[in-house]
């Protein structure tokens, strides 16, 4: 699309300010099933999100049709939308910041240029490793996925920014059987450096837990000390990350409303948003509104320090945007629960009667982000007097997110980034309600 023409037509139609956010996304994904390439996908898509202010209200349009013939239709729809919007929110298009962080390592040309056959061969090697690992392995599926995302932000107030990042993940699914029981294992490793994809490390992460959990059964319903693995607690943090959004707070939809400066977790709890995290393809130097991103502590030693803001929520609260305006909403870039000093082994050894939870399911449905209540299907291991006694499955662990943060008694040093971008160490919670047999 001829952007000069778009901006010119917008002005002619009486649109006060206009902003475009262009994204160009390239992806490759490969699945191997039982030693053969089962799926191979390549894709290239371009999209343009256009925002325009008319009558001091904002209209939106997202289009993947990029020829000049749709310019008038898009601008007319933006005007029609703006005319109907009666929200009291301000419509803001940003003039830009002085300084934007220079992120060097978020695009790795080497990864993009690496021969596809090498990527396939690596996946085949993982497939072979998993098949030969143990005779109880029955089904193996491995996958590699790679994305390159280039974005451009440009507006009538003079902003002209761009960002390019790439990342890949490699991982697998296994089903293991022992004649009586059947269990599944899954894990992925994310990086934009192919050297991080060590077959043995990934293979063990995928399969060890599945094998160890064969024969898992529910434990009796009771209260237990709970240890969440780094991956399991990341799932829960991800499901609750919306409570840090100032938009949710202002709409009365966050349980953190009115709690700025108050203690919301144990002093072992520090939660940050790190938009400059290395090797994360989510890392950004500016948000979708053109505001410079910044490292920030949301919770510091248990105290709630700030909410996440975009331009509109910041203006309402009389503060500066934190650079967290993404996709028309407010969100963290790379949410991270800071590591502690304990090792996972020390934590497990500290449990008298506990459950080490390595997997939680159904977080999209089993959590109530407004009340903080959750009840999640979980699996892991029963721990007695500091020792793993037996695998556990089909239990639910129920609690309230804020009460849980306050009851965290140990934090491990084993930081891990989950595939949806939340980084966390393993943690121990004093006591939670478990429902089982």
């Amino acid at each position: 699309m001829n952007l000069d023409k778009l901006f010119k037509r917008a002005k002619e139609k009486g649109i006060q300010d206009l902003e475009i956010f262009a994204s160009d996304r390239n992806s490759l994904s490969i699945d191997i099933f039982n030693g053969e390439v089962d799926k191979y996908e390549i894709a290239d898509t371009n999209a343009l999100t256009i925002k325009g202010i008319y009558n001091n209200k904002m209209g939106h349009f997202r289009t993947e049709v990029l020829d000049d013939s749709v310019i008038d239709e898009i601008l007319d729809t933006i005007i029609a939308s703006a005319k109907e919007i009666d929200s009291l929110d301000d419509a803001i298009i940003y003039e830009g910041d002085e300084h934007y962080e220079d992120l060097q390592d978020i695009y790795n040309e080497e990864l993009f240029n690496l021969d596809v056959q090498k990527k396939i061969n690596h996946l085949l090697a993982l497939d072979k490793y998993l098949h030969e690992y143990d005779k109880r392995v029955s089904v193996v599926e491995t996958m590699y996925s790679e994305n390159t995302n280039a974005v451009i932000l440009k507006n009538s107030k003079g902003i002209n920014l761009s960002n390019k990042a790439n990342s890949a993940y490699i991982g697998g699914n296994v089903i293991v059987k022992d004649g009586v029981d059947q269990r599944v294992g899954f894990d992925v490793v994310i990086s934009n450096d192919f050297n991080d994809f060590d077959i043995e490390t990934i293979g063990k992460e995928i399969i060890d837990d599945a094998l160890a959990s064969l024969g898992a059964k529910p434990v009796p319903s009771d209260n237990y000390e709970i240890v969440f693995s780094n991956g399991a607690i990341a799932t829960l943090l991800s499901a609750f990350q919306g409570i840090f959004s100032a938009d949710a707070v202002q709409k009365g939809l966050s349980l953190l409303k009115g709690k700025l400066g108050e203690v919301v977790g144990s002093e072992l709890v520090s939660i940050v948003d790190d938009p400059f995290m290395k090797k994360s393809s989510r890392s950004r130097s500016f948000d979708d509104e053109g505001v410079a991103t910044a490292y920030k502590e949301l919770v510091g030693k248990g105290v709630l320090k700030t909410f996440l803001h975009n331009l509109v929520t910041a203006k309402k609260d009389g503060v500066k945007s934190t650079g967290n305006g993404f996709g028309g909403n407010v969100g963290a870039v790379n949410l991270k629960l800071e590591a502690g000093n304990s090792t996972l082994d020390e934590i497990l050894a500290s449990c008298q009667k506990g459950i080490y939870i390595t997997n939680v399911q159904g977080a999209h449905a089993g959590v109530n982000a407004v009340s903080g209540d959750f009840s999640l299907q979980s699996s892991g291991y029963y721990i007695e007097d500091g020792k793993k006694v037996k695998p556990v499955a089909l239990i639910t662990v129920a609690g309230n997110f804020l009460e849980m943060l306050k009851d965290i008694t140990m934090v491990a040093n084993d930081l891990k980034m989950s595939y949806y971008g939340v980084t966390s160490p393993s943690i121990k919670v004093k006591s939670m309600t478990v429902s089982g047999s």
């Binding site: 053969e36 109907e84 009291l88 599926e141 059947q182 399911q361 449905a365 089993g366 429902s435």
Partner: protein, 465 residues
Amino acid sequence: MLLEQKLIEQILDTALETGADFSEVYIEDHQSSVLQSVSGRLEKSNNTKSFGVGVRIAKKFQSVYGYTNSKNPEDLIKLAKDLSKSFNDESLTKRTPLMELEVGKKHHVKIKPSEVALQDKVKLLKTAYKHASEFDEVIKQVICYLVDDEKEVLIANSEGRFVTETRVKVRLMVSSVAADKGMMQTGSAGDGSGKGYEFLFEEMDIPAHAKEASKVAKTMLYADDCPSGVMPVVIHNAFGGVIFHEACGHSLEATSVAKNASVFCDKLGTKVASDIVNAIDDGTIENAWGSANFDDEGYPQQRRVLIENGILKSYMIDKINARRMKMEPTGSSRRQNYKFSPTSRMSNTFIDNGTSTIEEIIANTKYGLFAKKLGGGSVNPGNGDFNFSVMEGYMIRDGKIAEPVKGAALVGNGAEILHKIDMIANNLDRQRGMCGSASGSIPADVGQPTLRVKEITVGGRKKGA
């Protein structure tokens, strides 16, 4: 025509040049709008327009897929060429000339979203807000959504299949937040259809749904924590069907069956449920949320009897997995949009009517949970373990519905729970859902009559009795 037929034929031919035995082109022209009102004021009016082409090439079980949103003939031919490099075989498959199938007559739409003025859409949101917010003074926030979606698809393949279809979906949802004494709970309700705006203007009782959302929020606000433990659970009709969807439906999709990754593998013709269970996946129900004339491989949608009197009768099978399974496709292949390769998915899936009544079921339950409204859930098809959340629940005591309880989750195993259904009522109803899986998020109906599961693990915050 979304693309010239000659160009489509060129793409299909190019794709076969290196020895693949199947090629397919999927073209999609799509527009949608999402309106969101907060406290009765229109806050978002987001419009989307997209166009894309997906090309799939296969040889035996192996398939490759690529997509682009370019209309440029050179880009499209290049895409087919790039994808075809995955194959290398001397023996070539010849393409069958395209034969357009008659456009399906079902699922007629009277008022397309593109024909409705924005202010008329906004009026619907204002009506919903009014009734939800005026329900009770504990209702502190009401968020309403109006979503419409209009899509034109064209599917053509090297076997001569050639279909086009226009698909329309509309949906209105209300989410109410009740707050009192520092406590907060949400309730939601809404409805949608494969019809056009005539559904929202004429058929849907918007005030009733709006009040329902607020009623659930208020009820749950004052509800006690649900006790945990193993107990009988009566699951109410309509959205209660999500239990079958999650616990069994996903495990009957060829995506998991073909790869020997489902607990229902090799179980056709065997007893998988108690005798009173009949389960159906029907993509032909007129204007239903999960219906279409054709699936996303261009096969006519079908009515599939999955389970009859407890016996497993059919899986849901797409073309490539059909080859692996040495069975016929069942018209079950679906995808969110051109960015996804299609695979076997559910359409409108439900457990059929039984012979009991809801009154009999409650009266026959001494102690248990009445799960009136379920939220979402998920399942691991590898071993059938599932979970789902209860949005509105009540205890059953001495054959009567007693106090409301909140925060309950149901967990169990799909293969086991089907055998534990011991009473089914005669009040079958379906409800709208969005189902996320391998080929993206798609509209799918779930449904069932009120039924009882003899015993199931209920997870709550209160230690069980």
